[in-house]
Every structure is written in C-alpha cells, then in structure tokens.
C-alpha cells in the first residue's frame, strides 16, 4: 500500500456528524439580505425595546422574516416584522411578542429616513449583546456565546475583539452587562461612554 492509499483510507473514516446537512434553503434565504452598502454609508441609530409594544406592523402589511434570537440562553427561531416606518416587532413561534423597536438611518448629508427591513435584519443578526443566564454573564454574538463570569476579577471592564470573517469589532463590556462597541478601536468607559 502506498502512503496515498493509506492516507485515503484513514481519512475516509472521518465524517460530518449524523445530523449534519447543508441547509441550502437557509443559505438562499440569507442571500436575500446581502445589502450592506446602505448601512455602511449611513449612521444607523436603532432603539431596542425589550418586550416592546409595537404591534401594528402586521395590520399595515409589514414584511416578515425568520430571524434567530437569543431567548433564555438559547438561540430560537422568531419572526421579525418590519413596517414601512422603520419599526419592528419580534414574535416567538407561538406569536407572542418578545421584543421590538425602531430606528432611523442618518444619511451622510444629515437627512433622516426610516430603516429598511434589510437594515434592521442586518443590524439584529450582527448585534452584540449581553445576557445573564443561570447567574453567568454572557456576551452573545450571532450563534456564539462567551462566558464572561471570570473575566472581571480585578477590573470593571473587559475588552474583547470579535473577529467575523474579515470584519473586526472591538467590544468593551462592563461588569453590569452594559457594553460599547466600535469597528475601529476599544471604547473607553468614562471617556467614550458613561456607565452607571
């Protein structure tokens, strides 16, 4: 037997897990949301209201999309509904409201416009948040979570760089779970943002 034959046989024993299947439907769905230029050209201000109350979107024909959200420590399928005014609601599979908010984009010339569904989707799927789960403080980003519980032994702020493909995000997390982030540099507590 040659090295090549032995190599082939050995590595042919290594497989993906039994439940693994490439999800082409999911990827096709994501393909619809690849419009980032408008966001990078504008400054996005988005207000998040946990347990928000905006429920009128569906009545005026809002755009609905499936989105993954963190809920009680697990990633969960939810429905994002966006209306033409830049407001949105997030409902769980049973239709219960679990969040909502709205936002505007500031164009380079200073004019304001409502966020589009794409921008809101983009923002929410790329959002960095914190949550306390079973007494542990976690940093949440996309489908990843990082336990920060032991990161604050002798300091109030924890600095971490998130790398996502070619994109970097500098995140400063405070002991109380508040955070500030920037694609350029770490935000300094007390200088770039205030804390409680």
């Amino acid at each position: 037997m040659t090295n090549r034959e032995n190599y082939h046989r050995a590595f042919s024993a290594l497989h993906t897990s039994d439940g693994f299947k490439v999800d082409l439907e999911k990827t096709k769905m994501r393909q619809t949301f690849r419009f980032r230029n408008a966001v990078t050209a504008a400054c996005v201000i988005l207000a998040l209201a946990a347990g928000g109350t905006t429920a009128y979107a569906a009545n005026i024909g809002g755009i609905q999309r499936t989105i993954q959200v963190w809920l009680h420590g697990d990633q969960t399928d939810a429905v994002l509904t966006v209306d033409n005014g830049g407001s949105y609601t997030i409902t769980d599979e049973s239709g219960e409201n679990i969040g909502g908010g709205g936002g505007v984009a500031l164009e380079a010339d200073g004019t304001e416009r409502p966020l589009t569904a794409d921008e809101i989707y983009d923002h929410l799927t790329n959002e960095v948040t914190t949550d306390t789960i079973d007494g542990h403080l976690y940093l949440l980003y996309k489908d990843q979570k990082l336990d920060l519980s032991d990161k604050f032994s002798d300091k109030d702020a924890f600095y971490v760089t998130l790398q996502d493909d070619d994109k970097e995000l500098y995140v400063t997390v405070m002991k109380d779970g508040s955070l500030a982030s920037s694609p350029d540099r770490y935000m300094v507590p007390g200088v770039d943002f205030t804390t409680n």
Partner: protein, 160 residues
C-alpha cells in the same frame, strides 16, 4: 459554467469537511465551514471554467474560512479531538495513528499534506489553491513527510 449547489453538496461536502477538519481539528467548526462555503458559492456570481475549477474554488474558500476560525477567540463547547478520533470507525489498525499523526503536524503542513495525499492535487495546483509559491508547497510537503516518518516509522514510506 455553474453547477447546482445541491449537486456540489452531494459531490464535495465530505471533501470540504476533511480539508477544513485538517485545519480546525474540530467537527463542529468544520461543519460550519462547509455550510458557509456553500453559502458563499450561492452568493458568488463568479463564472467557472469546469467542475474541477469549482471544486478547487470551494476548497480554497473552505481553507480560508477554516483559518479564520482559528483566529477567533470564541468559546464553543467542543468535542475533544481525542474523543472524536476514538468514535471514528477506522478500517485498519494503523489508520487512527496515521490520522492522528497528520493532525498533530503544524497547521501549515497539515493542509498541504491533505491536499496532496487525499485530494491528489499536484504541487502546482496546491500552490494555486493556497495562494503560496510552489517552493513553499514543496518545503511544507518535505517537512511534513519527514515529521510523519518520524512519528509513524515503518508505517510511512519514504516517497519524497
């Protein structure tokens, strides 16, 4: 030319997985890379010359994504390499030792060795896929083989 993603998944999913696994050494990470690589294929408008060209492009994307994963800090509950290897059904007694020896090589040697011995790519083709010079490929192959020979002794023949 373009081929359907469904066809490519069927044909090359395992090739991409193994190329990625040879870098990440983690099943979950390698599966994520496979998923993301096909996502990238769906998004690209690139026109390919042949099926071989598509396969080489997919491997290049998978390799780059795998390297990116190694540079991220993210915590993820991972199955250890040892557990994964112990759960695999190797055909011959020496197969596990060979796979473990390859996976213990430095990262830059592992992928070159894998593309050469598993995918049967030539030095020139590996050079194109990894975007490194042919002499760098030859060097890594040489050093990788020598390390394998040291680790595997008579189970790895000198084929330099």
């Amino acid at each position: 030319m373009r081929l359907s993603a469904e066809y490519l998944v069927q044909q090359y999913q395992e090739n991409l997985y193994l190329a990625s696994f040879s870098i990440c050494r983690n099943q979950q990470d390698a599966e994520d890379v496979v998923q993301d690589t096909f996502l990238k294929y769906l998004h690209t408008s690139k026109d390919f010359e042949s099926e071989e060209h598509i396969k080489a492009w997919l491997i290049r994307v998978a390799v780059n994504k795998s390297k990116n994963i190694l540079t991220t800090f993210w915590y993820r509950k991972k199955e250890s390499l040892e557990d994964y290897m112990n759960s695999a059904s190797f055909e011959e007694p020496g197969d596990q030792a060979l796979a473990e020896a390859v996976l213990s090589l430095p990262k830059s040697y592992r992928i070159v060795i894998h593309l050469y011995y598993y995918e049967d790519y030539s030095v020139a083709e590996i050079s194109q896929i990894l975007a490194i010079s042919e002499s760098a490929v030859k060097n890594r192959l040489l050093r990788g083989r020598r390390l394998l020979q040291t680790k595997l002794k008579e189970d790895w023949t000198n084929d330099e």
